[in-house]
């Protein structure tokens, strides 16, 4: 039960299909849809753990006001996944707990 996806897409992206990488894993997506939408189709269910209690969270509002969908996108941390459309080859990293300062 834990490994079932929470959401699924109703159509095949066809020519609009792109591949993005979530924590290094190749995942199918449709050009133009949001990173948060793709994250909600993944079996893991969660898209980050909090910096305080490290409890799992997932996109909640999809309109930019809850900040639960913060992920690292192409090297930039704490980006709102619901406001970011996917692009071919995009790297998406789930934040695990508190961010580390990296050069």
């Amino acid at each position: 039960m834990k490994d079932a996806s929470m959401f699924h897409k109703l159509h095949d992206p066809g020519l609009s299909a792109v591949t993005v990488y979530i924590d290094g894993q190749a995942v199918a997506a449709e050009a133009g849809e949001s990173v948060a939408a793709v994250l909600l189709r993944q079996p893991a269910g969660w898209s980050r753990t909090t910096p305080i209690s490290e409890s799992p969270r997932a996109p909640y509002c999809m309109m930019g006001v809850c900040f639960e969908c913060l992920v690292e996108i192409d090297g930039k941390g704490s980006v709102q996944g619901c406001l970011t459309p996917v692009r071919e080859g995009m790297s998406i990293i789930r934040h695990m707990g508190v961010r580390r300062l990296s050069a």
Partner: protein, 372 residues
């Protein structure tokens, strides 16, 4: 409860005095202002700091040293009483120097201050870039960083936790706190004081005015002139990060929560707590010159507060001569001085008169020409 003493002002200064009084078994009532008042206590940067302080005023440096020497035991006690951790650390503190010229100037300034003191071993040293890097192994310093001064006695604490703990400590010792209690007027009645709070009046045998920028008007009513002006300071704070900065610097510190505080600006534009994008840009620019990898980190909040600034920037501790039951206490750096306020100052107020060591801080120093 008829209070022995009413403290007007629930910021860091008033709360520390009220807590010190409550611990000395005084029946204390703390009157705090409204939620939207100017509140330096909620805008504080959180340094417990000695390095560089007291130019031209040796007594201020002595006062600061005394408070810092009391901070550890003060922390232990209030943490035990309230269960609130203050995140106080005294691992020393840095003042970064961008460029060799700044490094030389910093070195000279601190030497001059040391000579002014004229006694004791230096409790600071200049660290060149290599020595600084050894102290900060997780920080990749920007190319312009020439080094830093290092003050052994410096440290930092969480100013909001301090304020919260002081309030909890006051209640624990039987004191009372009222928010939204705006004192409009003070009337001396015999040796007592009548305080007018809207339709309500309170009578107290002794009062302490620690109302920050709201103090001059109240102090005048008990015969004291306290010249003050607001000095705006803007501060930035980032999202939480894993610990990387083991000790605070004068404009950059990582808090116990992991956020990074950056500050502060200083300007005199009156009673205005608006923030400016220029200040945020300038502070950010300086920060990424110090630690370039912070460029990828997100600013979560930017605020401005008003420092309580006297003409010479040093505190005012005064007892009214015409109405000796009334005291006025005003300063910035209320976090550094908190331990002193809880111990020395509260004890003196409880005993009824201020000690000789505080006489340089009487407001009448502003009455006479400064030539002497």
């Amino acid at each position: 409860m008829q209070p022995d003493i009413v403290v007007i002002g629930g910021g860091t200064v008033g709360s520390a005095i009220a807590y010190g009084l409550a611990r000395r078994r005084q029946k204390v009532l703390l009157l705090d202002g409204d939620d939207g008042d100017f509140r330096a206590a909620r805008a504080n940067f959180g340094l417990v700091w000695l390095q560089g302080k007291g130019v031209g005023m040796p007594a201020y440096q002595a006062l600061t040293r005394q408070s810092i020497s009391l901070w550890g035991s003060f922390r232990d006690e209030i943490e035990r009483e309230t269960g609130t951790r203050l995140h106080y650390e005294q691992n020393g503190g840095l003042s970064f120097c961008l460029g060799e010229e700044a490094f030389e100037k910093r070195s000279m300034d601190l030497l001059r201050l040391h000579n002014q003191r004229g006694e004791g071993e230096p409790d600071w040293e200049m660290l060149d870039r290599q020595a600084l890097q050894r102290l900060l192994p997780k920080v990749e310093l920007g190319p312009d960083v020439a080094g830093a001064s290092f003050g052994r006695r410096d440290g930092h604490a969480n100013p909001l936790r301090l304020l919260s703990a002081l309030h909890a400590g006051i209640l624990r010792h039987g004191g009372r706190i009222r928010h939204r209690a705006h004192v409009e007027h003070i009337e001396p009645v015999g040796s007592d004081f009548r305080l007018f709070l809207g339709r309500e009046t309170l009578v107290a045998p002794r009062i302490v005015i620690a109302a920050g920028l709201g103090s001059p008007e109240l102090a005048r009513q008990i015969g004291l002139e306290v010249p003050l002006r607001p000095a705006r300071g803007q501060v930035l704070v980032t999202e939480r990060l894993a610990p990387f900065l083991p000790l605070p610097a004068s404009g950059l510190r990582q808090t116990g929560e992991g956020t990074v505080m950056i500050g502060a600006t200083k300007d005199y534009i009156g009673f205005d707590t608006s923030t400016t994008a220029e200040a945020a840009a300038r502070l950010s620019h300086k920060t990424v010159r110090l630690v370039p990898s912070l460029a990828h980190v997100r600013l979560v909040r930017h605020w401005a507060g008003l420092r309580i600034m006297t003409p010479d920037s040093y505190p005012i501790y005064s007892q009214s001569e015409s109405h000796p039951g009334a005291f006025v206490t005003l300063c910035h750096s209320a976090v550094t001085l908190a331990a002193l306020h809880v111990e020395t100052l509260a004890e003196a107020i409880a005993a009824g008169s201020l000690p000789e060591s505080l006489s340089p801080f009487h407001e009448r120093r502003f009455d006479v020409p400064q030539a002497a």
